[in-house]
Symmetry: C2
Subunit: 439 residues, 2 copies
Amino acid sequence: MSMLETSIPGHQGGVAYSVADASGRPSSARTVVMKFGGTSVKDLDRIRIVAKKVKEEWARGHRVAVVVSAMSGVTNQMVKYCHDLNPMADRAEYDAVVASGEQVTSGLLAIALGALNVPARSFQGWQIPLMTDEAHGCAAIEGVDGTALLKCLEQGIVPVIAGFQGVDEHGRIATLGRGGSDTSAVALAAAMKADQCDIYTDVDGIYTTDPRIVKQAQRLDRITYEEMLELASVGAKVLQTRSVGLAMRENVRVRVLSSFVETDDNSGTIVVDEDESVEKKLVTGIAYSMDEAKITIRQLPDEPGIAAKVFGPLSAAGLNVDMIVQSIGADRSTNMTFTIGKGEEVQACKILEELRSEIGYGDLNTSRNVVKISVVGVGMRSNTGVATTMFRTLAEKGINLQVISTSEIKISVLIDAEYMELAMRALHTAYGLDAGEGA
Amino acid sequence: MSMLETSIPGHQGGVAYSVADASGRPSSARTVVMKFGGTSVKDLDRIRIVAKKVKEEWARGHRVAVVVSAMSGVTNQMVKYCHDLNPMADRAEYDAVVASGEQVTSGLLAIALGALNVPARSFQGWQIPLMTDEAHGCAAIEGVDGTALLKCLEQGIVPVIAGFQGVDEHGRIATLGRGGSDTSAVALAAAMKADQCDIYTDVDGIYTTDPRIVKQAQRLDRITYEEMLELASVGAKVLQTRSVGLAMRENVRVRVLSSFVETDDNSGTIVVDEDESVEKKLVTGIAYSMDEAKITIRQLPDEPGIAAKVFGPLSAAGLNVDMIVQSIGADRSTNMTFTIGKGEEVQACKILEELRSEIGYGDLNTSRNVVKISVVGVGMRSNTGVATTMFRTLAEKGINLQVISTSEIKISVLIDAEYMELAMRALHTAYGLDAGEGA
């Protein structure tokens, strides 16, 4: 059995931060970036509540910058407009249309802050500027000029920044792709050398697992960047993977907390360096993903290079293969099982069927009725018992493991979808994460 | 009786046009600016129809640039959001919010053109740039750099420009005020030295009067800038006054036509120089305005400078007085009657009541039950019978004239609102404008 872990998608290259003149910054004031997602600014009432939250921070003497998403529903409407006019719409035009949502929210929140006598001004990506590459629709941030923002902060003005958007070198609007506002917030926090980047969302922090499935799930006070990165990459949807990777590289202290309840300095979950993490549990969190389909190719010739023959063409087509297992069949041929995003399954099968005679395999089966369960924790590095606990716990419940993959701080298994809740609850108990067992 | 005509509001100062390098322009191709208002782009179906109209022009080998308004209803929604959050909202933030509507339409139309295989790209005000002053919410255009737009035209690409918006010298978005997209279109046509600026709207041209009131109203093939300017300033809502003034100064040939019917080179009404006008009627059009209230101040001291005492404070408060008549009262005192926008009536009365003892007048009455009827025509310059015809026609119908004002090519009278339709129809007939009498 061979195991393979693909790289986490969406990681960016280097980001350049520049500040023309930051000499006037008083070192005593604390700089905080507050980021609010779509549900937090979904209507005028919610925008007024956000304005109050921002005022509280500002009134404490902090230097506050805000990053906002579009009002929830607006981006989907804009995407639909573009798609209805032309499914193959020019991505730069798509960006001009879709970025308007954040523009509106940034202006409205600045107005709401003005109504509370908090001096504020909106910034669009091109006004900062937040420079991106030309990959419209899913652009990567190339640099952030913090000069204008820091000038506002020095004057006690709250910059309200449209998230999700920047400008390319040709002066055209570019968006960062879905969830890009988290990445904007982290990049802007790095450019302003902020002490903290608070991501306000509709949940009150990172949990040991999904509380909708496991009632005993507990909120974590702290989690390491690497754990958060692994959890985000295997299905925890609270933070976008890219934003966590950027925070780790730039060492931005990120906090996840709720915009729907009263919060204080101890609210939410802080994402920190491993050095800062005080919790030394073996497993920090358990995540699941229903987004993958399983493909099995049987009766492959058992010869060197067969994996390259199968996966090369998929990779060339831009399809991301996740978990892979190769096993010996009865007749000395070999079988290959792997997972791929459900949205890419049809295309992958088409490619493989066209190559059937060339590769020389027997048959090809697919299943969408699978779930990937992952346990994550930095404690795994120094303890070998984590995998054993996982395999034993699932075996006791009669759950068959179809594929297994591991990384330094993560173990993932693919199981039949109907066992999802059972497996999650059993593992949560087995790793001592249930509420009442101390967090 | 004294008569006074105030200056037409909204006239702009000089606009600077610059082009970095226009040497590559082929002189043979015709350059046309097509402007589409909110009802013409109100939904995706209408945007597809607009794209087809643009393609027709483009396919004829013309160099075509398009200017668009927001989808109808969107701007009102954005204005309402801003007002609900803070009636005294920062105008620069208001502009960031409101300008988003045109941004969306420009991107969507570029996408719709792409679907028809017409190369197109959107331009926001700041991308051109179209420079404005800092009067956010009602900014004046200070200059247009035609370089990027002309480069598109040379390459056969259709620039789709967000109307109504520009950018101030600090890089902040500024809007031109209601109806500003017409002004954008004319300024852009001037910057591109366009041969014609076609304003597509929901009517098929300029009429001798409002066809909803006078069934015999006829569409005009041509009208002069000055006539259009006077008609726009007295209530004809087809073109914004500012845009007509700009077209006159920059000598931009403007055509008004419908986006809801098939059109050709002879459709609509062309606004031209007086030299080009072939129609030599005494009166070209009749307009009405219900937007004014009448204020009468009685028993004023009959002394020099009394008009300045009354109108000085109103002007200082930014209130625009339109028609004025002063008459001698019975007791050798004087009466003053004038009109003011209905929206400014309350404020004007408040100012005048506070000054009552200082000015020393008897009483103050107001009426909102009045209508201003105006007849306009360049033929008046050389013919003195126009006023006589107006007064006689209205007298025959028993309509009392409350205030009269004139300009070189216009006569306006204020009458009781209930006589509006009667007066309009009688005048339309009296000046030989009824359909069937030759246009």
